[in-house]
Structures are given as C-alpha cells and as structure tokens.
C-alpha cells in the first residue's frame, strides 16, 4: 500500500491550508493509501481540543481531524510545535499522537510521497 505523508505547517481557519490538508488526508485514506498527517509549527494549532465553529460559518476542522482519526489516518503533532503554540499534551484532540522531530524525520524518509501544506 502506498504511503503518503502530509505536513501541515499553517494554523487552521487563517487560510485554506489546514482545510485542504484534512480534505486530502480523508481523500487519500478512502482511496486505499496509508496516510500520515503531520502537524508542525502553526499546524499544531489544528490539534487543539474544543474548537467551536457555532455562529461563524466555518467548518469545524477539529471535528474533521477527528474524522481522519476515525478513518485510520495516522495523525501526529510535533512536540516542540505544541510547546511553541502553548498547547499542553492534555489539550489536544483525542487520538492525535505527539511525536518528536526525529520520529517525524524517519517517517518522512519511509513515506513514498510527501505533500506540504
């Protein structure tokens, strides 16, 4: 099975990158690919629990991230990016795994292809 890694570097809701990364992850996993979604830098903010879109008209990307996890996308958030964005490991969406930069580097080496958002 082909393995696609997707790196999200941008925070949600500010531009389309986070929404596109989640959409591509869902598309990939339903298309019979193994998908790893890796959140680094501002992308770590997507992992934050408690996102509430009521009254905004936005799609709740926290819920969409949960959908990814439910559909067996491997969802990782880079440890130092969490700290840089003041998010504690207890305050992230259930099912998101905290990973070190070394673990992420090894994963990228093994992935067949990588997309960057």
């Amino acid at each position: 099975m082909e393995h696609i890694a997707m790196i999200l570097r941008k925070p949600p809701y500010g531009d389309i990158n986070a929404a596109e990364a989640v959409r591509h992850a869902l598309g990939g996993v339903s298309g019979e690919f193994k998908v790893s979604l890796i959140m680094t830098d501002g992308g770590a903010l997507l992992a934050k629990k408690g996102q509430d879109e009521t009254g905004t008209g936005f799609t709740n990307l926290g819920a969409a991230l949960k959908d990814c996890i439910d559909m067996d996308v491997e969802v990782l958030v880079e440890q130092s990016s969490l700290m840089e964005n003041n998010i504690s490991e207890g305050d992230i969406v259930d099912g998101v795994r905290v990973a070190s930069i070394d673990e992420i580097a090894q994963l990228l080496k093994k992935a067949d292809s990588t997309m960057i958002f």
């Binding site: 570097r9 830098d41 070394d102 580097a105 990228l108």
Partner: protein, 93 residues
C-alpha cells in the same frame, strides 16, 4: 534524499526544512529566499551537502565573501540533475 528550501533563515518554514533535512541525513538545495541560508553561520548545525541556485544568489546581491565556502553553486540545469539523481525530493520549505 534532497530537501528544497525556498524560505529565508528567519522563517519557521526555512528552519523547519533545514532541521528535517539534518534529521533525515538529506542534502539541501537553496532557492529564492532560501539562498540567504548560504550566508556565513546560517547552516551551522547542518552536516549534509548544500547547493544554492546561482541566479537567486546573484539577484539578492550575495557576494562570494559573504557565503559559506561549502555551499556549492548550481544553475538550473544543475538543479534538474540534482533532483533527477536523488531517490526522493521533498519540498518546498
């Protein structure tokens, strides 16, 4: 493995790309504002091979004296060869 860096040294993207390249044991090619990484001391912790696109360096007025000697100049043809020779290309950061 080759990582393409197009963001400046003072950006999160640029630092992320160089860090990942270092951890993966990959080489880097510096394009656009990534050319500023070729300046002295910007690649202190990077142990792989580094290449810079000569046009982007010249455009930004980066003189030979400002640059790390180990960063090799390439032209567009050289960039294509580098990418073709690499088993995997990751970018752009």
């Amino acid at each position: 493995m080759l990582v393409i860096i197009r963001s400046a040294p003072n950006t999160t993207e640029g630092k992320r790309g160089v860090t990942l390249a270092e951890r993966m044991g990959a080489d880097i090619v510096l394009l656009q504002n990534g050319a500023y990484f070729a300046q002295k001391d910007n690649l202190e912790n990077f142990s792989g091979s580094a290449f810079v696109l000569a046009d982007d360096k010249k455009l930004r007025g980066l003189a030979a004296g400002d640059l790390e000697e180990r960063v090799k100049n390439i032209d567009y043809g050289g960039l294509i060869d580098l990418m073709a020779r690499s088993d995997k290309v990751l970018g752009m950061f």
